[in-house]
């Protein structure tokens, strides 16, 4: 059965190399409050974002320099993007989806391929809950985007862009609900049911204002429920 383990609690009788754990040469112990799956894998329940190359992240321009930009992605030090590495021009405060192309040993983060995100705002969730928000094969995020008619972009860093178009209030509630209950099972069905009830309560006012077909979800890390968020593919757009 899955159980919650504490820092320093033993997770294996053998010395293993695994994420969120350390070994003293004899046994292996957790380093964070995490769920220990029956297969022996640690799923952290909280924690800062661990930047990796190929991750897609959402952020906003926090400084404009001579040959590039600083982009706040929630890490201790902002990511840097050189002007040469992006097709668009950005102003201070612009929100963007960008790809991490390099992380060095002192955690300087280089970004590229930034695309402006317009007409919405950024909500922040804990980075360790991002895989749950995306769902297996984007199932969760696509469901929310379709039900609300919003454009939703999930960065691996935990920043979530939600468009003003569509039922953005419901989208935010769904995101918050998933963050709160990420560690529970049956969440996808509960979120679907919750959204159905809320839409019914509002009497069908949640149709997209502009009459466009629902945008669908666009997420930045289309791995099937990947916990480590490694590897990268170009972001998918749900229909």
């Amino acid at each position: 059965m899955t159980k919650i383990v504490m820092p320093g609690e033993m997770v294996s009788e053998r010395p293993l190399r695994m994420a969120y754990a350390y070994t003293d040469g004899q046994k292996t112990y957790s380093t964070v409050v995490a769920m220990l799956s029956p297969e022996g894998k640690l799923i952290p329940l909280e924690g800062p974002y661990d930047a990796l190359p190929e991750d897609y992240v959402v952020g906003f321009v926090s400084d404009v320099r001579f040959a590039g930009y600083s982009i706040d992605i929630g890490t201790a030090n902002p990511g840097s993007m050189s002007s040469r590495d992006s097709r668009e021009k950005f102003s201070l405060g612009d929100m963007a989806l960008a790809k991490i192309i390099a992380v060095d040993e002192v955690k300087n983060i280089d970004l590229a391929d930034a695309r402006k995100l317009l007409g919405g705002r950024i909500e922040k969730i804990s980075p360790v809950k991002v895989p749950r928000l995306i769902g297996k094969k984007n199932s969760m995020i696509t469901m929310i985007a379709d039900a609300t008619g919003c454009q939703i972009v999930v960065g691996r860093n935990g920043y979530v862009f939600i468009s003003h178009k569509g039922d953005h209030k419901l989208a935010k509630e769904a995101v918050e609900m998933i963050e709160k209950e990420a560690h529970t099972s049956g969440l996808t069905d509960r979120v679907a049911l919750y959204m159905k009830e809320r839409k019914a309560a509002r009497g069908g006012e949640s149709a997209p204002a502009s009459g466009m077909p629902p945008q669908g979800g666009m997420n930045a890390q289309p791995q099937a429920g990947a916990q480590s968020g490694q590897g990268g593919m170009p972001p998918a757009t749900g229909q």
């Binding site: 820092p7 201790a76 920043y159 560690h183």
Partner: protein, 255 residues
């Protein structure tokens, strides 16, 4: 330690302490994690009449820049007593020398436990506010800080816990309250890493024989096990109660 004037009796005729406790008995403890909306991790702890609130922020940008280390995060624990925490703190401004000492020893205890190499060029701020004090506040502070750090998901090798042992009227006792601390013969706050019971902090105030030190360590360990259980239970309970709501971060206001 030790006030002026005649010392009060610390043990009743039946051997119990002034608050009715047995020598090896602890005061009641409650711990709640995730109590602050904007902190990365937080903890509110009551221990007897002590009340401690801890907020953890980080890893975040290290300021001042010249202090930052390219090898690891800086652990900055700030132990602070609120002006209203006790009658002695009335009207005090700024950290006392004692507060600076406790900030240092608590930071050093955590430096042995936090896996700081994972976050170079950053700092991890642990703000410890003592809201009400009645002896043993540094143990309460460290115990609460451990919970707050775990709540923040900062990787650690263990979940530290602290408790004080001392000597009152010739007898070893656990978890001294203020009068016992001030008028007793010895006060020894001790912090442990519960995995192997390694000592992370040991401060000795007053005189103990070698045997008493050894016995004291055993007493402390037994009591600390119970405190550790409360810490663990508090962290598990986070996942059964609702979280504080989030707020939007950026609104694209320059568009």
């Amino acid at each position: 330690m030790g006030g002026s004037g005649p010392k009060p009796k610390l043990l009743n005729s039946d051997g119990s302490r002034l608050d009715g406790r047995k020598l090896e008995e602890m005061r009641p403890i409650t711990i709640e994690a995730r109590v602050l909306n904007d902190a990365d991790g937080s903890c509110l702890l009551t221990w007897g009449r002590n009340k401690v609130l801890v907020g953890v922020y980080g890893p975040r940008e290290c300021i001042p820049r010249h202090d930052q280390s390219p090898y690891r995060a800086l652990i900055k624990c700030r132990y602070n007593m609120a002006p209203f925490c006790s009658l002695e703190e009335h009207n005090r401004s700024g950290p006392s020398r004692r507060s600076k000492e406790l900030s240092k020893v608590i930071s050093e205890a955590f430096e042995n436990v936090i896996i700081a190499e994972a976050y170079p060029k950053t700092q991890i701020d642990v703000y410890i506010e003592v809201l009400q004090s009645d002896g043993g506040t540094r143990c309460a502070a460290l115990t609460a800080a451990a919970v707050a750090l775990a709540d923040a998901g900062i990787p650690m090798k263990d979940l530290p816990v602290a408790i004080a042992v001392g000597k009152i009227e010739g007898k070893l006792a656990v978890d001294l309250f203020k009068d016992e601390d001030n008028f007793g013969e010895s006060d020894n706050p001790i912090a442990f890493a519960p995995r192997n019971w390694e000592v992370l902090l040991y401060q000795a105030d007053g005189l103990l024989t070698r045997d008493e030190v050894e016995q004291g360590l055993e007493l402390a360990k037994e009591a600390a096990k119970k405190v550790h259980e409360v810490q663990v239970e508090a962290l598990k309970r986070v996942y059964e109660k609702p979280h504080p709501p989030s707020v939007p971060l950026a609104t694209g206001m320059f568009q």
